[in-house]
Assembly symmetry: C2
Homo-oligomer: 234 residues x 2
């Protein structure tokens, strides 16, 4: 979607309707980015059992892709516009992978745990504001894919036994979440339609710094809860 | 499977029956290795459309995994023995990834095209010799996943327009298939049960060099046919 949606089915719908293709594109880009991150984690897994678990979780990230594309098409979003949106969001999300490069397996696990969590939180924020038909399409993709539980189950005993590692990873987590929230902030502020859908901008206006701060505050709270599950202070 | 299968359901079956868990483990390891190779290709794709296609093909490689594991369990193969088999085969298959490192996107495509083809050919060789119940379980995983057609469709016009690139990739293909056949040879000769199933060793004997050559000859013929689809001489 580069500009107007006049003449399409979107124009006849509610104000937030024109942001639906953007939201769908963000969901698809998030799935693709998570697939790549989890597949890369699988390739670096310390043992075959871990590789199998993470490969499966990675593959699951793409399960909802067809439905997202079809719904965008049904809404009248031209295929090339949708692909351009996905490409933009994917580029923004990939920045996260290039920053804060993990030095070992545990830093890698924590980075994916945090980054994946923030991507999912943004997805949930957006989906909570879409119409029911769209919500029906996307809700499967928001289901817990088991990654967080897997990380908590495998890391918690290690962290409890190794306070020095826990301290290092708590520090690492603060650095990683800074990058993740930076990416989330750019995602919802640089695209005007998504900014409006996310509730951080009034129609036709730039994102409001205070609303963005509130939005990021909610993501931070979720992050703090997630770090708590690992026994780490955010 | 470390040693005897006495007392298990396997011992009561046909001579080749004791090799079925090995064959299933090879299939599973092949799927995992192909997943990793295709996901890595997706991560290096020159554009998002290619990334999407390859990510999906990668994810499809794991679709049959549960059935393979369940069938091994149903045959009485202890879970830890099966995991050890998968781990062995996966280690052998991963050697292929570490050798003949591609220098650009096209070399990468050709490497996966060739390596994936050989892995699948070995799978088909093994599956053609298993019992019907096993064949029913594994046949879905042998279905064409679309990778070969995708590579041919995207590369053929490029190769036809760039004879120098075609010449370089033909040379590259010869190097890559040497590595792939080396891996295939080790896979079927180092495991006595698989060697017997593949028809390269008599019961209780080492692999016969002549039978191994015949086996590799069939894989070579398939490879030549595949290179022909790209307009390249093997």
């Amino acid at each position: 979607m580069t500009d107007s949606t006049s003449g399409s089915a979107l124009a006849e719908q509610t104000p937030s309707a024109e942001a639906i293709p953007d939201a769908l594109a963000y969901l698809l880009a998030g799935g693709l980015a998570s697939f790549a991150r989890l597949a890369d984690d699988a390739a670096h897994a310390p043992d075959l059992a871990t590789r199998v678990v993470l490969s499966r979780i990675a593959a699951g990230e793409l399960a909802n892709m067809d439905r997202l594309e079809r719904h965008a098409r049904d809404l009248g979003c031209p295929e090339s516009d949708f692909a351009a949106l996905v490409s933009d969001f994917h580029g923004q999300l990939s920045e996260f992978d290039d920053r804060a490069v993990p030095r070992d397996w545990w830093e890698r696990c924590v980075k994916t745990y945090i980054g994946y969590g923030v991507v999912m939180d943004v997805q949930r924020e957006l989906v909570s504001r879409v119409d029911e038909a769209t919500s029906d399409v996307v809700v499967d993709g928001l289901a817990d894919n088991g990654h967080a539980d897997y990380v908590v189950a495998t890391m918690l005993p290690v962290l409890e036994a190794e306070p020095q590692l826990a301290a290092r990873l708590a520090l690492w987590g603060r650095r990683v979440v800074g990058e993740a929230l930076g990416v989330a902030s750019r995602v919802v502020t640089q695209n005007p339609r998504l900014a409006q859908l996310a509730g951080v901008a009034a129609p036709g206006r730039r994102a409001d710094p205070e609303d963005v701060a509130t939005f990021l505050g909610r993501l931070s709270a979720e992050h703090t809860r997630r770090m708590g599950r690992l026994g780490l202070t955010a």
